[in-house]
Symmetry: C2
Subunit: 278 residues, 2 copies
Amino acid sequence: MNKISRRKMLLIMGGSLAGTTLAMAGSGISFAEDTPPPGPFKLAQKPFSWTPKTLDPKEIASVAYQGYAYKGYGCAFGTFYSIIGLMGEKYGKPYSEFPFTMMEVGKSGISDWGTICGALLGSVSALSLFWGRKERDPLVDQLFRWYETTAFPIYKPMGKAVKFEGNLPTSQSDSVLCHVSVSKWAYSSGFSAASDQRKERCARLTSDVASKTWEIIEAKMQGKTIAGFGKSDARKTCGACHDKDKESPILKGKMDCTPCHSGDKNSQNKFNDHPLTK
Amino acid sequence: MNKISRRKMLLIMGGSLAGTTLAMAGSGISFAEDTPPPGPFKLAQKPFSWTPKTLDPKEIASVAYQGYAYKGYGCAFGTFYSIIGLMGEKYGKPYSEFPFTMMEVGKSGISDWGTICGALLGSVSALSLFWGRKERDPLVDQLFRWYETTAFPIYKPMGKAVKFEGNLPTSQSDSVLCHVSVSKWAYSSGFSAASDQRKERCARLTSDVASKTWEIIEAKMQGKTIAGFGKSDARKTCGACHDKDKESPILKGKMDCTPCHSGDKNSQNKFNDHPLTK
């Protein structure tokens, strides 16, 4: 006890880290002088305290689509604003005070890196304002698995298109990653990943993801049972040996394994004899 | 003009979509009755208007590490709170009013899906409160490429560890994805992806990513030139044919291509003759 001051001890006991830090005190461990104690996280607000409010699904679909193009803020801004922004416009605080342009970060899979699809990032960020992980994870599972298995785009713009008029080819990505989703669509459609057709595809997909997210939120608000998350067959197969407590428990994540581990021609050695010289 | 009411027209002309929507008016396109006009995005605040404030790097490193374990909020909460939360504790609004638990969404690569490393998601979310894409993208490039090429973890906890005491093996992931980063570490270290050792590795990595992010923010605040982003060799090679305006412009993203496209044994056909029966 003598290495932690009484004041620090009171602070610690009043905080949420009491269990951990009492154990520390018990073991006689103290902090170096230049290291602050474990953060009391003074700003910790009431967690996940925002409440979802009723919105019009048609307006969500339209605003998400327009939001993709609005000042170039992109897909994550589109889905997020179509839910939290519209709540802010209709119901005021706290929704209206979120710093919305933060969500631009999700554009092109986070600053053009092609990681998580930004439309999904905007949607799950909205979900996490309302629900902590125990309630949220099944909703995310449903949204992500639907995304992996759906051919995009679906949405048909009313009025003028934001990037390209007319019908577009569709493709299923088997992946929640922007890189896989966009590159597969570009390959199968024949349009450049930098084309207006691809941007239009992503604007419409932004609307599709926002609509599905709202369907999931609305079901949750109404206390309806969320349909079970069916893991992909590949994820089940790999998990049989690589999940927790199995013989080789190295697997992290729930993504479908096929795009990268199936021996598909896209994941063969592309640095040797490519394109095929035959 | 006669299909858009004068009131709507005034609203449109006052908004930021004036160029687009005037073109629509010129082409005589109107909206279906049940579809709202392109959102004026009434809540659009001054974009990217937050200003970074001085913090203590040692405190950032410690709070990010502790934040990983704090109430189980995880890696994205850890990095984000260590920057924006500490600014809130020291400087008040607007930092203090961010709904911090939203960032829990990044835990385990977004609700356990293993997509983007959550520590990176928390960091880039902080960056995007300060800077729009033109200024932010080079910072993200620097952070992400550093992450791909660094062996984690580096941080040595002062005082009691949050999950596991002692030294840990390190590994380089070549990827910004949680799945690849964690699973490679688990494979090479021999520890389960669900072990306390792996959780400790991720807590320390959370501190590492927060420290690097702060180094990048501080350099930017001081007007220092950010070192150029060196694309990975594989990304350069693939881009020579698959980038914009090349012969097969299907490539989206900046991730290193090797983990999934190099013919590495991990991306061979794992559903056939695996484990090898020899």
